[in-house]
């Protein structure tokens, strides 16, 4: 496995990623098995920027080796964050230790590179990629040394993977660079200061037009004596949390407020890391491509779509339109069974709304029709948009208040319309999941198994030995987008990211004028291949790519597929591998039972964010490889 050690000036994100995991692992378990875990093979000595051309194959090979270890490492990370560890997410800027820290730009560049896997990017390997160096004490130098000392053998592989990663700042218990306590504190305060200066410009700090979601960063507090510092850490954490929330809100304000054209890319990027509750309804509508980014058009657009929905209802429930009894009946019996644990969905008014939305959608999409599970998918939209009608202080009560008590009929109709259209937009992207035979789901399940086979061969082989078939547990994961596996709150957080991952295409069928109401939109009709460029300011990643890379066509088709469904497979993979250590000791029955009821009841948003980050990393690493076997 350890062919040779490599030295290179270029450090990379993967390096620091591995390092992050290594640190967290070392600190959590004080494991003594470092070398075997971290010394990964580098199959090519000079796999530096110049060798991008051959990178895909190489990526796969090296990463196979690497990821066996990574998967295990993740488990460690998971536990660490579950226990009383200081390992946690903070907003990117918060953890930026030094004023001159390049992180915002860096992250942008990382995102940028995510779409440029085949491009040459020599500048990307500059020494500024020092994610672990935020100790407040000359981070660049420190971290450079840090990398060199420990991970030279990594450098050679690195430049082929360019993606954002969870970043562990402030070293860690196991870090060889042990800054003093005061320096760590200083870093925190300076980061806050710096944010106020840098903050607003962060989103525009990009030299490139490619922006992609930043990952939440892992922050590990520096301390020599965990027990003694615990209280202090917690206080600091609370303060940081608050700060980070405030900052996030203002960042969203910056993007949304007083703009004629909302920068969709900025929005996508920032939303990937979670959307503040007060912004969520409008941001979701923007992300899914419902609300126009041109704010001047929004009002009239909403009016039109809401009217369209109402006309659609009127038409559907009029006498000239015969009721599709089986569909109506199926929806009728499923509505009371939708989120039965949440009071909101027991209110008659809510049930009636959902029934109308689902029925109208079903008869307009006869190729799939109503399929159990999509009743789940409509609820995050409904619930989120409902918060628009509540005063901010009561947003958290949305699941217990009866909407009919605080909404007019007109408002209910608007809410239904918005929910209907966004739901429609979402399902457009995953149509194949619900048409006859559910090919989309079968494909995803297959992809998942192939992915796990490569990422975690032990688990895969164990499943084979125990005759556990992926479809036996993963069918539901795909059919309901993991909604059954998590509580609603975490699902909604997850959707912030998912909706940021939705592709930008606009289908021709989207704008149904009231005249076309009789023409059902069949989900099987081919999607329009080109990306939307809603405004001239907005440039979709692919469109921008096209001006630079030769293989535009290929990329664009890949990009198009690699939206929600593909990302979801990676999330499922990360989710499954999370339990790998436990699963390999289980027999068939235990495995299925466990996976049907995974212990996620107490999952926080942080847990979900960790999962999404892991998925993002897998996707970044396997994206190109997957085209060969997915």
């Amino acid at each position: 496995m350890h062919e040779r050690d490599r030295t290179s000036d270029s450090s990379s994100l993967v390096t620091s990623l591995m390092k992050s995991w290594r640190i967290s692992s070392a600190s959590s378990s004080f494991a003594s098995k470092k070398p075997s875990l971290y010394k990964m093979n580098t199959t090519e000595p000079n796999s530096l920027p110049s060798s991008y051309a051959s990178s895909a194959r190489k990526d796969r090979r090296t990463s196979d080796g690497n990821f066996e270890a990574m998967a295990k490492q993740q488990a460690c990370t998971r536990r660490t964050s579950n226990s009383n560890s200081p390992l946690r997410y903070v907003s990117p800027t918060l953890s930026t230790a030094s004023n001159e820290s390049p992180r915002p730009a860096l992250l942008l560049r990382q995102h940028h590179q995510r779409h440029h896997n085949h491009q040459q990017h020599r500048h990307s390997s500059s020494g500024s990629v020092n994610n672990a160096g935020s100790n407040g004490t000359d981070p660049n130098k420190k971290s450079d040394r840090y990398f060199k000392d420990l991970d030279e053998d990594w450098s050679a592989v690195i430049d082929d993977y360019n993606m954002p990663i969870p970043i562990l700042t402030n070293g860690g218990f196991g870090s060889p660079v042990v800054p003093t306590r005061s320096s760590s504190r200083r870093s925190t305060s300076s980061s806050i200061n710096s944010t106020s200066n840098v903050g607003p410009s962060v989103v525009r700090n990009s030299s490139s037009s490619f922006t992609y979601p930043q990952l939440p960063q892992l922050q590990k507090e520096q301390t020599d004596d965990p027990k003694k510092m615990q209280v202090e850490i917690e206080n600091e954490r609370d303060a940081q949390e608050l700060n980070s929330i405030i900052q996030r809100i203002s960042k969203f304000d910056n993007i949304l407020k007083d703009k004629t054209i909302i920068n969709q890319q900025d929005l996508r990027k920032i939303s990937w890391n979670g959307i503040p509750k007060i912004h969520r309804p409008v941001v979701w509508k923007l992300l899914i491509g419902y609300l126009p980014v041109n704010t001047k058009r929004q009002e009239s657009f909403l009016q039109r779509k809401r009217k369209e929905y109402k006309d659609g209802l009127k038409h559907t429930f009029s006498d000239q339109h015969s009721r599709d009894i089986p569909t109506w009946h199926q929806i009728e019996i499923d509505i009371p069974r939708t989120n039965p644990h949440i009071p909101l969905y027991q209110f008659k008014s809510v049930q009636n709304s959902l029934q109308r939305i689902l029925y109208l959608w079903a008869i307009r999409h006869p190729a799939s029709g109503y399929v159990q599970g999509i009743n789940d998918l409509v609820t995050p939209f409904f619930e989120t948009f409902l918060t628009e009608y509540l005063p901010p202080s009561q947003i958290d009560d949305v699941e217990i208040k009866d909407p009919s008590a605080y909404m007019t009929d007109e408002q209910v109709a608007d809410l239904e319309a918005d929910t209907f259209w966004c739901f429609t937009k979402l399902l457009e992207q995953i149509t194949d999941n619900y048409i006859h035979g559910q090919p989309g789901i079968l494909r995803q399940v297959k992809n998942l198994s192939q992915l796990v086979k490569r990422i975690d061969a032990d688990l895969y082989n164990h499943f084979q030995n125990e005759h556990v078939e992926f479809i036996q547990f993963a069918f539901r994961w795909m059919n309901c987008l993991l909604m059954r596996e998590f509580q609603m709150g975490t699902v909604i957080r997850m959707w912030d990211t998912y909706l940021s991952e939705t592709s930008q295409e606009v289908t021709s069928s989207y704008s149904i004028s009231s005249n076309d109401v009789k023409t059902p939109v069949t989900p099987t009709e081919p999607r329009v291949a080109n990306f939307a460029t809603p405004t001239k300011d907005f440039q979709s990643p692919t469109a921008a790519l096209s001006s630079m890379t030769p293989n535009t066509v290929e990329d664009s088709s890949k990009m198009r597929q690699s939206s929600l469904n593909e990302f979801h497979v990676f999330v499922c993979a990360a989710f499954l591998i999370k339990w790998s250590d436990q699963l390999v000791d289980m027999d068939f029955q235990e495995t299925i039972t466990f996976l049907q009821n995974p212990p996620t009841k107490d999952w926080s948003e942080t847990d979900i964010e960790m999962l999404l980050s892991e998925a993002f990393i897998w996707q970044s690493l396997y994206k190109d490889a997957t085209s060969h076997w997915l």
Partner: protein
Amino acid sequence: MDTNTAGIPTLTIKLVLLGESAVGKSSIVLRFISNDFTESREPTIGAAFLTKRITRNDKAIKFEIWDTAGQERFAPLAPMYYRNAQAALVVFDITNEQSFRKAQNWVEELHEKLGDNIIIALVGNKMDLLTMQGEISNRAVNEDEIQNLCQQENLLYFEVSAKTGKNIQEVFQAVGEKIPFPTHNVGRTSEHDLTITDDQRIDLESTTVEGARETGGCNC
């Protein structure tokens, strides 16, 4: 672990539940497994897997149950679950005629694909909903028709209520008795048997309802 059944011969029965959506398949299983009932359960997606041990004389029977989703769209998945099954519960709602038609289809499909290699119990659920208004019952399925089907297709027949628990244990008990105890078939090492049984009271007594009355009357 399962101290009750450890060391005694265990017969493992793979059982699949089929039937139209919302007839109460999952509720029947829940009642059987943990003697519980909830009014509104999320529709099953794909299939759910559950296990339960019961005793028959001095022997143990372990049910490995695949509770399938009822909606037509999921039907293509069903063969995966009934392929290796030794027993099937084909469930319908006795107040819903359509669900009985669907049950008939399932019985036909099972016999077509598996011949006589599967024990099939036809289960009419939701007895608790049966009400009499004078002479008129809201029973939607003709009893003669049920009886004909049972004789024709060689089915066990039970009318049950997952809500009240009526006849639920009896169905499984009867299915268990129909399947012979092969000498070589000893269940998997009890080491790894994470049977849900253990802490979830089989407690046959508590759920027994006035004998194992097979209301449909076809004692085949």
